[in-house]
Point group: none
Chain length 108, copies 2
DNA sequence: TAAAGTTGTTCGCGATTCGCGAACCTATGT
DNA sequence: ACATAGGTTCGCGAATCGCGAACAACTTTA
């Protein structure tokens, strides 16, 4: 599974095997092994690859199928900030209302 | 890192080494090696452990901490949705502007 | 209370897998 | 034609794996 995901992500980014190998400080053939399924990356390498590709290890390992996490504002348990300052519950509700009104008006 | 996390999680759940080993179909000594740091679990084992503990591989591997992740709107790394519908770049900018204006007015 | 389990730790063993450079092919550019 | 870059595969030595065994410290059972 990780082999397929790595191959897809790399092609999407149009990166070469050598480039990724350089970023992780491993041999080109080593990384090639990851993509072909001939080798399994170390846990450390998996972490670095997730960072490099801007995705999660859960995605690389196939635990989840979404490359990127999406944040649903109406149902989020995460703190949300603007300019580093956290939004209050009320502010988030205002933003949601704003978006809903905006969309409703766009329909007419 | 994974060793520490596994040990913490197992104790929190009050499970024995043997119980986890049975769930993963590996030897007790093998799992013990994971917790002591003497061995590294396979990628497959990491996935199964995340499922068993009800956590993410990102947490097990130490990519993220248990602390809640905060989403900075001005640095939108994730897609954001309201009622399941994704916000456009413009909409996000409007929300940011809205919050900034609101804060500025609150100062006066 | 003696015997039988349970738990967690560590060890050595054989087998597996790792990471590497080398070699090779194809395509592209000089 | 030659050089360069990307991608694939191979064999090698070294590192690591997963296992059962053995052990001490408790806890449970008879």
């Amino acid at each position: 599974m990780i082999a397929k995901r790595l191959s897809e992500l790399r092609k999407k980014k149009k990166w070469s095997l050598q480039y990724i190998a350089d970023q992780l400080n491993i041999a080109k053939s080593t990384y090639a092994g990851y993509e072909s399924g001939y080798r399994q990356p170390s846990l450390e390498a998996v972490k670095e690859l997730a960072t490099l590709f801007g995705t999660s290890t859960d995605y690389l390992l196939g635990v989840v199928d979404d490359e990127q996490q999406t944040i649903e504002l109406t149902n989020t348990s995460f703190p949300i900030t603007v300019d580093g300052e956290r939004l209050t519950e009320d502010e988030i509700h205002q933003l949601i209302a704003f978006i809903r009104v905006k969309r409703e008006m766009a329909k007419k």
